[in-house]
Amino acid sequence: MSELKELMKVFGESGGDNSILAREDIAHFVASGHKILSTRATEGLKIQAEETDTGIAARVRVLEGIVIKNPVHLCFGILHKKGIQEIRMNIQIERGASVRFIAHCIFPKAEKVRHIMDAVVEIGEDAEMRYSEVHYHGPYGGIEVIPKAVVKVGKNGRYFSDFSLITGRVGKLGIDYAVEAGENAIIELIARVFGHGDDRISIKEKVALDGENSRGLIKTRVALEDKAEAEVTGITQGNAAGARGHVDCMEIVKDSAVAKAIPIVNVTHPLAKVTHEAAIGSVDKRQLETLMAHGLTPEEAVDVIVKGILK
């Protein structure tokens, strides 16, 4: 089986839609290890990519005013037990453009794998970017994943990101996102992670509401079992009049897992307002009892609650 076929097989198994590669109206970019396997751009979308010693360097541009209807699929992975993959991405969404990316990061056999994503994103005036990233790290937990992004959002721009790693092991995860919001910009950062075994999770997300009337939401949902540990830092700065931010972190722990939440809210303008809520604990007793009164066993009930929170 070719590497592309093999990667797409795992892609399909982990919930992806295999038929997208063949579609001419859907753009995609697929890389395994340090190799670019397949790429297709559509009108108004420019993808410039090259292989490097340790991974891939790519420049992605959505040209001014272009609205890309179908989501652009990105697929990164390492199929071997060992390896390193370093992705350097430069994404530019020009004025008035709009695009949605769906990134699949697949490491099914990872025993000693390192994946680094280093993204610099610029979203122009009136432009919008949605970015969903779904990870699958396999059952062994032998992986270190470091997604890093620096995002600048212009006036009236919108940035929505959604990171999810809820099937299989996590390994070691170190998310580090920083977003600067311009006037009227809207930012939403969502992360959902389910840790097992001795997984180690660190999530640091920062939104600087620098523009007037900008809006920011950082929402984190983490479930932990066994000996997994997580530390979630959500930082929001209200630096301009009318800026509104909220940090919402919920972590559910089972067994001897350890969770920590550090919401940091920082307001430097008297007309800005930032709020936060954090809830860490075991599964809510009343929720559990309600589901049990509906005939679910305690185990089934916990499962429903955890899945709901990670949805």
Partner: protein
Amino acid sequence: MYLLDIKDITYRVKEKEIFSGLSLAIEPEEVHAILGKNGTGKSTLAYLVMGCESYIPTSGVILFEGKIINDLKIHERAQLGITLAWQEPVRLEGISVRDYLTLKKKERNPSIYLEMVGLSPELYLNRIMDKSLSGGERKRIELASIVALEPKLAVLDEPDSGIDMLSIQDIINVINVLKKNGAAVLLITHREEIAKIADRASQICNGKIICSGDPQMVAQYYKSRKCEVCIAGVCAYV
């Protein structure tokens, strides 16, 4: 044989004795209303019947279809056919109304249950059971879920609270459907017009049932009580 037979139970939280020798028996398919002032222990009775954590009688037994259930966990009682709609239903993040109504029976059509409680399936099936639902909507969905379970005994703790005045008939309909499907209902309520539809009613006071019988009669007795706060002994009626 009674469906539910509560025999002479006492129950204490910390220093406070909430029940001191309470007995209550319910026949299959009987709708039994429970009346009582705030704080008399109506919800506590509901939790004892459902078997919520730490709600185990200090003495006395609870029988369901002739078997002692004192030591059974909530889900074990649920599997016998007992269920409970809490006075304040919980919120559940990420769970849709559809999921909630089909928790155990995935193949079933949840729409009819929503219609039964006056909610349109198109508008509500895909709603999430979180804070975005209003209190009354949440109550209605809880009732719909109870009907969907097809229980033998449904304990409804103030199903009418938070329901607007014009929709009380929806609640009455739900109780009638439960009954038609063969369920008995332990119906905790403060509203006379709801209690009226019961087959029998009981008034709780001072840790005991002090009056049982025809709902209109019990409601009358309840309204004419002399005590604002319960001081044991005044109620001669048993």
